[in-house]
Amino acid sequence: MEQILCVKNLSKSFIGVKALKEINLSINKGEIHCLAGENGCGKSTLVKNISGVHTPDEGEIILNGNVYHSLTPYQAMKEGVQVIYQDLSLFQHMTVAENIAISKLSFEKKKIVNWKEIKKIAKEQLDRIGVSIDMDQTVGELSMANRQLTAICRALAQDAKILFMDEPTTALTKKEVERLLKIIVELKKKGLAIVFISHKLDEIFSVADTITIFRNGEKIGDFNSKDLDEKSLSHYMTGREVEYPRYHRKCKDNQPIMEIEHLTRKDQYEDINISIRKGDIIGLTGLLGSGRTELAMSLFGLNKTQSGCIKVEGKEVKINSPMKAKEFGIALLPEDRFHQGLFIERKIKENVSSALVNALSNRGILNRKKEEKLAEECVKELKVRTPSIDTIIGTLSGGNQQKVVIGKWIATKPKVFIMDTPTVGIDIGSKAEIYEQIHKFADDGMAIIFISDEIQELMANCNKIVVLAEGKCVVTLNEDDLNQEDAAQKISNLISSGENTEIKEAM
């Protein structure tokens, strides 16, 4: 087979970490090559070195037979490298259409902008992956899922020889993922090489020809996907056995801790009724735009409700600010980790204590000992991979950053913890650790609202699942319902039934 990319002895260091250690890799035409590994093992760094975002410390990158010691993004594009970055790299204030077309135009060294052409390119690509996004909307107004779809369209718009996809499916629903995977397979047939990075092992197995496993910046090896199964893969990735235990509610207290009654906000969600007891882990799922994030924000006081009420421990409460929410023992793990969850230039310990500054203070004086203790505990419990709690959080990998954000809210010991897609971009090892923690806290009496797209994840971790479609609560499944064999199938059917109506309306 024809080799498109060959990486030789590539090394890259950042302050405090050696992100890549003498990596050798070769990728062939018409191959789907998956990179797997825990958070922070260097997958994204490898991609960025090849696409010209980072300059390697040592080593060679051979693209189409041309040897580079470092490249510019333009050179990389010229060699046919296209990337869907983990952080998407979109332009917030530009329209969807322009975002999709702009790389292509800039690569073609166009001098003059033809807006019709931009629309044409964008429309082609959107049709290709079969989604309807308003092309004149600015990206800043899109949901995470639509942003991801936009980024995918952008990468597809250019004729790539090798396409890197760094966790392209984190915000997508199952349906969209399936469509994307289908496209990937088609592209492969056309002779493209595709490098696919994901933490969702089922995705990896459904498309991969070769799987390269990284651990701690080192390559463990290349495997044929047929030679691996989920268990062995995770074993290679983590160096240990991991298992998802199924959650069963143990708490005996059946008094509802939080009741949501007829909660409505026009155009976002309607007449939502949910009752949550101590120890409940309630899954909340639905299509993109189904209003889950909006509901979560409302429960956290960031999105005004219009009618209905929220009761905490039987008392009706008005949650009109996060401070109030915190007072009532409600925590929210936000969807947009980078902007809403992290203080990117501050130390880990400061991030951990950020929701607790007042509680850690005595008469206004911050107790730094307590803070450090808290941070140490958090890092230890959630197994954050970091040199110390004084490390600036921006230098951690995405997954490790997320763990710190979870840790920060767990430290507040909330009664109800709303997690908006908490395991996006997190490796199985860490996921298992996080699930374990969640279960433990639920066992201790915490109630959890778990928002996710992954039905398997919800099935394993929740004792109750609420499915939303177009802002309405379609069905609520109890533990008994979930124990039925066809539960997973039922949920995905419900979701797609919602989707059908959506498509109808769009047409």
Binding site: P73, S89, S106, I112, D134, D136, N303
Partner: protein, 333 residues
């Protein structure tokens, strides 16, 4: 859809302008003369030019507070040389001053690119630097009306056409021509060329722009050179209009221009901004400052009035934006 949304914002500005104008006319019908518009066009023309330059810089995610120093440097040096050599040619004046502007703008861009620091600080430094260099190494003398090259004086007094009314002639200033040309050119650059899109792109996210194949360094060079060029042009028009040359004018009036651009709907964080909005913003500021006498406000109440209106219009426009963002669950602080 895009255009509709932007108009929404500009509508508010227009509304503010219209309501204010009505109030002034009620107080003093003299405001309703043709003359008023012509006078506002003339007095605001210089600010329009630098505001458009600043708009481009701010769209690219930067800010420039050295443009007044550049305008002064360019025009002062150019006219000094012209006086010394006895040159009397408008084209040369614009060209030379524009070139100086480009040069100083490039220095800004190089420093920003090298130091990777907020442009506000860098241009604050270069503002002092340019002015210091000019007055230390070139000259710090003032020149009165008669000494300036004749062509400048003619240009400053020039009109496109005149309307004769019962109390004298009213002319539309010729300075409108460069303003219009610059406005159109800037619009073309921003919306019809790739470099314009690059400017918007680096304003949105520099790293993403780099990944999309743009060269932020080159774009930045262009942006600051363009703003410097416009400043150089503006300097000449300014001198022509006031018909005298001082080594210490202009510098210190930057922030009002920044205010005008921001009131016009330009994001201080970059990536977004409209030429028409900027024009409206400048108009609001000038309207305010040039109607105080008409409404019979005594001098000691000037600032109180201007400040109050400024605060109110900033509050209204920002609050609109905030409401819109919050309803989309976008949290900008």
């Amino acid at each position: 859809m895009k255009i509709k949304k932007v108009d929404q914002f500009q509508k508010i500005l227009l509304l503010i302008i219209i309501i204010y104008s009505i109030l002034v006319s009620i107080k003093n019908p003299a405001f309703l003369h043709f003359e008023t518009i012509f006078d506002i066009i003339r007095t605001s023309s210089t600010t329009m030019i630098v505001a458009i330059g600043l708009l481009v810089v701010m769209i690219s995610g930067g800010i420039d507070v050295s443009f007044m120093a550049i305008a002064l440097f360019g025009s002062y040096t150019t006219i000094n040389v012209m006086i010394a050599l006895g040159i009397d040619n408008l084209g040369i004046a614009f060209l030379f001053s524009g070139m100086i502007g480009i040069g100083l703008g490039l220095i800004n861009a190089l420093l920003i690119n090298w130091l990777k620091l907020p442009p506000f600080i860098i241009t604050l430094g270069t503002q002092n630097l340019y002015h210091g260099v000019m007055t230390t190494f070139i000259s710090d003398k003032s020149f009165g009306a008669g000494v300036l090259p004749e062509c400048l004086h003619e240009f400053g007094q020039g009109t496109i056409f005149k309307i004769v009314t019962e109390d004298g002639a009213v002319g539309l200033t010729i300075s409108l021509v460069p303003v219009l040309l610059i406005g159109i050119a800037t619009w073309l650059i921003l919306y019809k060329t790739m470099i314009g899109r690059g400017i918007v792109a680096i304003g949105n996210d520099e790293e993403s722009a780099r990944r999309a194949g743009f060269n932020p360094f080159k774009i930045r060079l262009f942006v600051y050179a363009y703003s410097g060029f416009l400043a150089g042009i503006m300097g000449i028009i300014y001198v022509a209009q006031i018909n005298a040359l001082y080594p210490n004018k202009l510098v210190g009036n930057e922030l009002m221009v920044v205010a005008a651009v921001v009131i016009g709907g330009t994001k201080i964080t970059g990536g977004q901004g409209k030429i028409f909005g900027t024009i409206l913003g400048v108009t609001i500021i000038y309207l305010l400052n040039s109607t105080l006498i008409l409404i019979g406000l005594s001098s000691s109440w000037n600032n109180l009035f201007v400040g109050a209106i400024l605060v109110v219009s900033v509050a209204i426009t920002s609050y609109q934006e905030r409401i819109k963002n919050r309803s989309h669950l976008i949290f900008t602080e």
